[in-house]
């Protein structure tokens, strides 16, 4: 859904690093993946439809 609503190429002298929203999104992803891994371990590591409703 790209369009021309905003000028895409504003830069500073040095790369500013990861934006805060990217860090927050990465943190959220890590937490969700960790929860899923723990949940899968608790149900025996099986991965198929129906496994989550027992």
């Amino acid at each position: 859904m790209t369009d021309r609503q905003r000028s895409p190429d504003k830069t500073t002298a040095a790369h500013p690093g990861l934006p805060r929203w990217v860090k927050l999104l990465a943190l959220g992803t890590v937490v969700v993946v960790a929860v899923l891994i723990v949940a899968m371990l608790l149900i025996g590591g099986e991965h198929r439809p129906g496994m989550h409703n027992a």
Binding site: T11, M51, N53, A54
Partner: protein, 172 residues
Amino acid sequence: MMSPPVRKLMLTVHVASSVGWLGAIAAYLALNVPALASNNEQNVRAAYLMMEPVMRYALIPLAATSVATGVIQALGTPWGLFRHYWVTISLALTTFAFAILLLHLPAVEDLTAAAMDPTADVDELGGDLFHSVGGLVVLLVPLVLNIYKPRGLTRYGWRQAQRRSAEPSAAG
């Protein structure tokens, strides 16, 4: 770069297929309601029977179109595919969701096949709520990113922008 009419056409197809993908997930999610909650065995079987066609003829084609037109849109505009974090993250998440969709198809075919067996106990099948809710949650992130377009150039995008801004002074 794409011409403005082509760009508008691609954007229209991209928005339509992306929204359609979310809608197809909602339909798939809705099939889990009778599959998990109905006391009528025929309703439960019918819900499982519909999961495979919804996935094969709605979810997968719409997802493929959404990913393909997203890539074309990015490559054919100044946004690029790897210049901005929001574009790159959107690409990664939609590609991930599409891959899971394809990998999950055999399991859904098994569910449908089991529901077609009149001797099978459909209460044992347990629905497919996790994947439909998971898919919906994953796809809401690119939806928000595509609407808000949060700022942030990747290192690659930043280097490209630096080069471009240096070009006029080098020529002059």
